[in-house]
């Protein structure tokens, strides 16, 4: 299978769109008609050929365009990529994991040759052909985390483990849903989750932390998270709020289908071998409401989920402004029929 990479934008004229064949492989985040917080973590093993869970690191038609968008963000604001000094080994762990996985899963796109510590990496879609010495950062143009982070879709936080907690001590974060690495760097698990309502009372974080602290090597896990974004904008960072915040005001019943996007994060968790850190990739998928409802099951279910969403969550996810219009608009796709369990389209 060769992937046709799209030439598209996530800003300005927003030419981002999903090809019809790409729609059914969207990681729709609602397995039921109702949404509530849960830890919902499952093993990240290969699942369903053609789904985003098929490979360790999913590559799809948006790969090249997303990497160009990342380069733009980093050129503008180098602070989006930061690593505290003790995170260098973790950066090499991350680089190795991505290179080994991609070369294995997409042999027509990526190639890795290891001759002892002497490595040769070819990334065809991005036209990269580099040699370097594994573990020696002076042989790369930048920190190993940045080097590989510019070649893998999704944001990546690297969490150091110590004192029975996880610390956000490194990351390359350019496509975040309203949080900031610059703000969170050096914080522990509870500190960076502090603003999330309800979850604390439910003990979700305690359980999630305990789970992550004992995450075994070689057995990654995953979960889905979601929000909505107006326009297919990847970079919805707090720093840029003036750029994307006002977009919310532009939603009307007429344009809602193309403007409002379901934004899904496929979060995975990997124990890194040499640093004992945890790699936390957050891969973002965007899909316009018009595209979502092409799958009848998804249209029906999304209406029910949105209609019954608890007010504190509507507020927390920043949807208040257009939530009523959205529920109204989605209702036309809900014929009242039952939905099948699970997230995949019928």
């Amino acid at each position: 299978m060769t992937i046709q990479f799209k030439d598209e934008s996530f800003r300005g004229d927003f030419t981002y769109a999903n090809s019809p064949s790409n729609i059914p492989r969207f990681p729709f985040p609602f397995p039921e008609d109702e949404y509530m917080y849960s830890t919902n973590i499952e093993p990240h093993h290969a699942a369903r050929v053609g789904s985003p869970f098929e490979n360790a690191f999913d590559v799809d038609e948006h790969y090249v365009a997303e990497m160009k968008d990342r380069a733009l963000v980093l050129a503008d604001d180098p602070g989006r990529c930061q690593a505290l000094p003790h995170m260098e080994t973790a950066g090499w762990d991350f680089l190795e994991l991505v290179m080994v996985s991609k070369a294995r899963d997409y042999p027509d796109l990526f190639k890795l040759t290891m001759d002892g510590g002497h490595w040769h990496w070819i990334n065809k879609p991005l036209q990269i052909d580099d040699t370097f010495t594994f573990g020696d950062s002076s042989t790369l143009p930048c920190h190993p985390m940045e080097y590989i982070g510019r070649q893998v879709q999704g944001d990546h936080a690297i969490l150091d483990q110590r004192d029975g907690n996880l610390w956000m001590d490194a990351g390359i974060i350019t496509a975040q849903a309203d949080w900031s690495l610059d703000f969170d760097i050096g914080m522990n698990f509870f500190e960076w989750h502090a603003p999330v309502p309800l979850a604390h009372e439910l003990g979700v974080f305690q359980r999630a932390l305990k789970f992550l602290l004992t995450l075994p090597q070689g057995q990654p896990s995953r979960r889905l998270n979601w929000t909505l974004t107006v326009n297919p904008r990847l970079d919805t960072s707090p720093e840029n709020y003036p750029k994307w915040g006002p977009d919310k005001l532009t939603v009307t019943p007429e344009n809602i289908g193309e403007k409002v996007h379901l934004r899904v994060e496929l979060q995975t968790f990997w124990r890194l071998p040499r640093s004992n850190a945890i790699l936390f990739p957050i891969r973002t998928y965007l899909m316009a409401m018009n595209e979502v409802v092409t799958q009848p099951k998804w249209g029906r279910r999304l209406h029910r989920v949105m209609r019954d969403l608890r007010p504190e969550l509507v507020n927390y996810k920043g949807l208040s402004r257009y939530h009523p219009i959205l529920v109204e608009w989605l209702s036309q796709f809900d014929d009242g029929a039952p939905t099948s369990p699970g997230i995949f389209p019928d």
Binding site: P43, H86, E96, P216, Q217, G218, Q219, S275, N276
Partner: protein
């Protein structure tokens, strides 16, 4: 799911008698593949098929984290234990095939440290051998202080002295030597982290001395695996599975649950990681907790048990498994 569901098939490539009570075992992947990379302080769980009993014991990796063609562990023979170390000493020969888990690290170096101060007692030396290789490669200063009963029991001391010179010091009981902890811990540069692995009393002394000297708790690290204790056999009802099992005298509750085919999480198998924590549905009798995970309150509530190291005496124990 647990780490032990994903075992790696290995062949014993070498068995070395280090001294009368310690043997070193080296493993290679059966296919000659590379073994997973790991960090200093990690352990693996070794599965032993001992005449119908399946035993799994954790052992620290002592080979260099930068070598992936083989792993090495050291096993101290304990004739009063459950038989795992005896099995390793008596039955395991080069060429034998065994299974091991992927490495797990519950005793990692704090990579922010400006200096690593390592204190080992007896067989507690093993995680430090890998950690020294790591610290050395990363170029971070380290010092090892190693207490042993006698010169002949100070395993690996000679080779460590060869490799790391005066970064290592040894203290032998029979020579009347001992580590002056007060002195050692009060003379460290700011940013030093101390790590201790050895007998319980030693860990307590180091933690106490460091605390009294004002060391921040986050700079004091210890590894304390318990070998599951032996005891009287007892019966347990597994509520979800709807079965009764018997835990043998030399078996752990965790091993008995596994032998019944009932799924259970585990990782350290030594009461330290918290993975195997299980809800107690009913308890008429006494739980001997033995773990390092539950706090006093949880123990007193009798609603939680760590099956890897805990035993039971009484009429009825029912678990949510």
């Amino acid at each position: 799911m647990s780490a032990s569901d994903h075992l790696i098939p290995v062949v014993v490539s070498n068995v070395v008698e280090v001294n009368p009570i310690i043997k070193r075992f080296e493993f290679r992947h059966v296919n000659g593949d590379e073994l997973p990379a790991f960090s200093g302080g990690a352990h693996i769980v070794v599965e032993m098929l001992d005449d119908g009993t399946k035993r799994k014991n954790p052992y620290s990796l002592m080979s260099s984290p930068f070598e992936r063609d083989q792993y090495a562990i050291s096993v101290r023979r304990d004739d009063t234990g459950r038989g795992g170390s005896k099995f390793m000493h008596e039955q395991v020969q080069p060429g034998m095939q065994m299974k091991i888990s992927a490495p797990v690290n519950l005793f990692a170096l704090d990579l922010r440290a400006r200096k690593h101060l390592m204190i080992a007692g007896g067989i507690g030396i093993t995680p430090f051998i890998a950690q020294m290789a790591q610290a050395d490669k990363l170029g971070v200063p380290f010092e090892l202080h190693y207490a042993a009963r006698s010169v002949s029991q100070a395993a690996y001391m000679d080779s460590l002295a060869d490799r790391f010179g005066d970064h290592v010091s040894c203290y032998c009981d029979d020579q009347g030597e001992g580590i002056d902890l007060e002195m050692l811990l009060s003379n460290q540069p700011l940013g030093t982290h101390v790590y201790v692995c050895g007998p319980k009393g030693m860990i307590e002394r180091v933690v106490e001395t460091a605390t009294n000297l004002g060391w921040p708790a986050a700079h004091v690290h210890f590894e304390h695996f318990l070998a599951p204790p032996v005891g009287e056999p007892f019966d347990v009802h597994l509520a979800k599975a709807g079965i009764d099992i018997t835990v043998g005298a030399e078996q752990s509750l965790l091993e008995a649950v596994e032998a019944s085919g009932t799924p259970i999480n585990c990782m350290c198998r030594g009461g330290a990681c918290g993975q195997c924590e299980t809800v107690v549905v009913a308890c008429d009798g006494d739980i001997m907790h033995n773990d390092h995970w539950l706090d006093e309150e949880q123990r007193a509530s009798r609603q939680r048990i760590m099956p890897c190291v805990s035993r039971f005496r009484g009429k009825r124990l029912e678990l949510d498994l």
